[in-house]
Symmetry: D3
Subunit: 249 residues, 6 copies
């Protein structure tokens, strides 16, 4: 099985973290590739940056998806995920959606630990849009400058663990989600150090993508996740235009 | 006062409908300009098409917003609206948001009349995301091929009116929203022919944009609609990059 | 265009504040009149006081609405608003509904700043009844005696500003609504002093009333905002009885 | 124990139905009095009529409550109920609230059978305002002219029973509430004829009022159901002014 | 009238508290019997303990219900209640459901005072499952070891009262529910000492059970509270098997 | 890896279906065992039957869980699942929870196809309790006698497929869940015959159980899924008592 993970941001150091955790998590025989956005920002905290990241993700998906069994949008917040689900011929998931899929099997109230104050509002909108608002105990986030996006989990491990502990003690969290590709692998490092189960987006996405391939549930030919109806278009990059057509194949 | 209306689609015929209704609706002294997306699809029905439209809207806003007092995303579904609200230095609204602002002042239960079956799921997600789910009586839509996107309201006026009547009779609609820029002006044509108030997105957006300019509520310097924090970026079109910086001015 | 603003309370000093802000906010050519309740309390904080204010509002509307293009219930909490919408032949709005219509175009999470602790429960019920509960970040209120209802914004300006700042910092407010006719004009005074947009009920109601007149959406002849069905009545004041009949004209 | 039931409408024939069912339902030793509004409409179907009925109810409560152990607002929709709860020194309930208290002890999904099409929107708002929206299976209503408000249950018994049967079969109703004082006693007549439990507002209100008296839960001296704070008033009928003061005794 | 109260736990001391408060609360002529679970735990705090308590309750109901007019599950959390409603030929209620029925007639926002930190999550699930989530102001609980389950209200009366006061002051509680059979009678002891109405589960359940018997609403022969359809079974205790059949009589 | 699947019902024929589908779905190297309840009913349709099934499941888990890496409650409705999560030292899931975890990765609106009319209310309660109510498009069910519980999918394959097609066409289902262990394997048989993805509970549960084992998220030592606090108990079967203690190890 071959999985394509798309980093919607320009951060090669984060792509390296994603690849490492994905390879540690994958079942034997699963091959992982990670591609990094050639255009965009270092990491997404806002709706506008997510708009950019979604477009970059769509372009990368259009260029690279051929030959893969499933695709993962490898940023918490899942920019472009539901759009890609309409046009890709294979299963697609994202870090938020997959982390929630794991978390809701482990406890009822879920807290999300995030890397910046600003990122919280966007995360909340995505989680509520997925219908998980009633299960969200809290989002807690670092409140300090991030010197290096690829080095957050090393530089701030103690602070991140302390945020998780406060989520358990003060917010009633029964499961912790460590949110954001820059934290890929941190759940593994913290194993046994928190009093509730801890979930990571990358490993969840890899495992759930494998499951979706294995279950062979079939494609949507009807409803809002079927391919968009044919209509005139112009001026689109070839990779985007290809997806508009590919969905209908 | 100068308003910029952005058609996120490539349809010049729809831009003409938007301009005509906007000019009919604007207060004396308001100048209206409409720009049309150079890249994209004929009309947006799906999340993937909205992803494209949002990116095109952002580019157009970056290129053209200077000198305008407010900006309107002139497609129902408001692709890119909340993202632009973070980065534009002036008020911004969209057809869905503005139509709901009018409709909720006229009745409690709101029905939306749409141009295609497929478009309904996307509309519903947007309306629920705005928190108006509990006031949505129904969405009803045409179920026939659309020969010409600019000619829908002429070709299907009777069918659209019949959908509105069914929304009143069967769904308990107390207000009708005629959804989509291709229907701009239809509420005016139907005046007095439906038993409940009827709202149009373009005229609502123009009027509410004028109100936001007049009220001078101030900009967001804090919270999720403040400008995105500064961070590295690369490879972005100049118009997009400018917005990333402009928001922080 | 002529607008009738009804102060449901007996406070002439508040009527003067309403008139001043309404005149500052109205478009050129709009004439404003404010009438004050001859019976009632100084200001409404509770459901029982709102019951009284709603009845006074209905009487005033019955006596005075002729010749006006729209009517505004000029108290936050909108006593009698949805009832009047059934019987008046012209658009009608209120300070809460109109402030929410402005606020939801400016940000997602809305905080309301109020003049007394007791008033908060009633405000919350009204806002939730309008379906805006999911967008309400908080209500914060003064907790001190109000020597003069017409002088609150002068006497407590700093405290009110501090409440708004706490709503932004602690509750995540993205828009502030300064609630209550006694605060009419305060948003204007605070311009540029708060880090998020600030909305005022009176100016919002005047502007949205103008918009509803301009849009000409048509009247409800069907559904729950059509005129009440004819039936026997007795003992009603002439102004109330007139409204029962007027709605059916 | 003495209970005061207030008919907010001018219909003596309905007051007679209320009295008869209340007396059949009351525990031994409970005395029942019913007072009828001197001003108002024949029956309430709309928000505007409810505004009138609430004011009439408040006046009657102010005039008559002395010497009673509890008060019942004897119209479905409970006009004025939550307002009176602030000012009366004894427990107060209403037909809707009490019927829901019975119904939610008998099944999860509740359907309401009503006397007119128009009345449904108002009922739904009240029930949702009480927080019972998620348990409401449906509201179904007669769709024919009502010749005599006091004679509805005789004239339309078969149609009302058929509506209840459809609510069970098509809407999944697990409990039926026969709504409206004009239907007082009908649940008793239909005993054994419907396949799910059937609840009546008047008998429920009488029984629950007795329970509230017996439980002696104590009065609200704090929060939104304590008496309104003292403040200037003018022009109020003596009975209304007395309640403003009485609550603070 | 004869009422059967089932203590799902093995605590005879709590059964004694239940019996005493039930007898003080019952109307003249009502006979009360309390049975205690022969198997189970001292008191239920968790879902697993509730699973055990529900099974014990079902067995006790099967063995003892004959000859009673109504049955009460006498533990807050109501283990087995909705299951028993399907199979018992008489009305059945529980402490949580009945306390909520009382509380929602006394105020809008309800706080629950509980005997242990751990018990809160289970209580919240039950209350939300009943559809009362929107009316729950808070759950507050003791955070100390419970030496004797039958002696909690004596040992911790001051702490429990302090929790109620904090619920009023900090959470906006308008009604207090003292939760759990071990607190049976405490509301009576605290009469007049709290600034909002106080409700007790046992007295509420006794009174509401009497009301359900008096109202004679009829049994469910259709829908999800009718008796389970006949089907093969094996290995069941006689008392459980009897209920499977009894419901269909 | 070793998985224990518990059939809470007495139906050996269904256990055989469960085993076959589980073995087809499991990853290489996963060993599957299925145990069948010695006491209970043929299949669970109601809350009372679920109460029995939950107790049987707990007993089987207590007797058999040692040596397994994860446990699956192999009935749709997941009787006993959240209770077992408190006491088992390994991950546990159930058919409903796991099917929803798969389905929400495939589309937004989910419809459930069930084997009997009566079973729908129970399913709906469970799904809403998990917080998935907003994503449930519909539940549709067979309405005919079930001659043999193990033979349903053979006898009624066409009717079940037709229900799924109606859920897509009339209810807007974007994913279909074939509900109930008696339908184990049907999704596989219907592969490619429905226009939207189709999900099966048994294969989902097996795959997600494997994922939970692989992710090693850690156990709950705090919060509502930690082991129940120690307290007196009596009269419990050894297998149940063992679980009370085992959770605290």
């Amino acid at each position: 099985m071959r999985l394509l993970l798309i980093n919607p941001n320009i951060s090669d150091s984060v792509s390296a973290l994603i690849l490492a955790e994905a390879q540690r998590s994958a079942a034997p025989g699963t091959e992982i590739d990670v591609v990094t956005a050639p255009l965009g920002v270092a990491y997404i905290e806002t709706r506008f940056e997510a708009l950019i990241g979604a477009y970059a993700t769509a372009q990368l998906a259009g260029e690279h998806h051929a030959g893969y069994d499933a695709v993962v949008v490898a940023a918490f917040g899942d920019p472009g995920l539901t759009a890609l689900r309409e046009v890709l011929p294979v299963p697609v998931t994202g870090l938020t959606e997959a982390a929630l899929a794991s978390a809701h099997l482990l406890g009822h109230r879920i807290s999300v630990i995030a890397i910046s104050q600003r990122i919280q509002a966007w995360y909340r909108e995505i989680i509520e849009g997925y219908g998980f608002g009633s299960r969200l105990a809290s989002i807690r986030a670092l409140d300090r400058p991030l010197a290096s996006i690829g080095g957050i989990q090393d530089a701030h491990a103690a602070a991140l663990k302390a945020l998780a502990e406060r989520a358990v003690d003060e917010d009633g969290a029964e499961v912790i989600v460590l949110a954001g590709a820059p934290l890929a692998g941190l759940a593994r490092s913290l194993h046994g150090q928190l009093p509730v189960p801890v979930v990571d987006g990358v490993s969840s996405a890899v495992r759930h993508a494998e499951t979706l391939v294995a279950l062979q549930p079939g494609r949507a030919l009807h409803g809002s996740f079927a391919a968009p109806p044919a209509k005139p278009h112009q001026g689109l990059p070839a990779a985007i235009a290809r997806l508009l057509h590919a969905g209908r194949r």
